[in-house]
């Protein structure tokens, strides 16, 4: 089945230690999104890629970066995680902007 895959499902890191979360998709969608979801809150869009075009949200901290080396993969890099970055990170894809977004299972990040 075509799907959005996130690895790892759970990630524990230390305060200030860089961490990378991975997302891959077999849907061949043009757009890939990264959301941050804290406990009991709605998902918050961090940034998205429209093909190779990177679109950052105005309030996304500089500590968060992203890479999309090819159509299938997208990475979220947190350069110096703080305790406040502990959250669920959701990857989503859509065929084009304005079309339905399909979400992966998420990566739960814990910062010690």
């Amino acid at each position: 089945d075509a799907m959005v895959i996130q690895n790892p499902r759970y990630q524990v890191t230390q305060f200030g230690k860089p961490v990378t979360l991975s997302c891959s998709q077999t849907l061949n969608h043009n757009v890939m999104y990264w959301y941050q979801q804290k406990s009991s809150q709605a998902p918050k869009l961090l940034f998205h890629y429209y093909d190779k075009d990177f679109n950052n949200e105005a309030d996304t901290p500089d500590n968060f970066q992203s890479r999309r080396p090819n159509t299938s993969f997208c990475f979220l890099d947190i350069r110096s995680p703080g305790l406040g970055d502990a959250a669920m990170y959701l990857c989503a894809t859509s065929r084009d902007r304005g079309e339905t977004q399909y979400f992966g299972p998420g990566t739960r990040l814990l910062v010690l």
Partner: protein, 116 residues
């Protein structure tokens, strides 16, 4: 500015009872509308969507939603709830155009508890 309101933070129903989750939105034109469901520790699963056409849309797992333009609402309904429906439900508005094309605006979510 676009916004989505889900006025009920937590709803409890008995198994077999009917369900309605409320969603109101603020948007300058007719938006795209979505309902997603999230089980604990999982990602968001699409239940249904409205883009255009028939204002009553059917989704998966026996859910339906009705778009009411005059009320700026997109309420989710199910005639008979199952214990497996216990989860968090998110209403979302999608921008149709402009600089925010493709962006989803989520409500804060409604947590559904089902009593046996």
């Amino acid at each position: 500015a676009q916004s989505v309101t889900q006025p009920d933070i937590h709803i409890t129903v008995s198994e077999g009872a009917s369900l309605e989750l409320r969603c109101n939105y603020s948007y300058g034109a007719t938006p795209y509308l979505f309902w997603y469901v999230q089980s604990p520790g999982q990602g968001l699963q699409l239940l249904l969507k409205y883009f255009s056409g028939d204002t009553l849309v059917q989704g998966i797992k026996g859910f339906e939603a009705e778009f009411k333009r005059s009320q700026s609402s997109f309420n989710l309904r199910k005639p008979s709830v199952h214990w497996s429906d216990a989860a968090e439900y998110f209403c979302a508005v999608g921008a149709r155009g402009g600089s925010t094309l493709g962006r989803l605006y989520f409500g804060r979510g409604t947590q559904l508890t089902v009593w046996p």
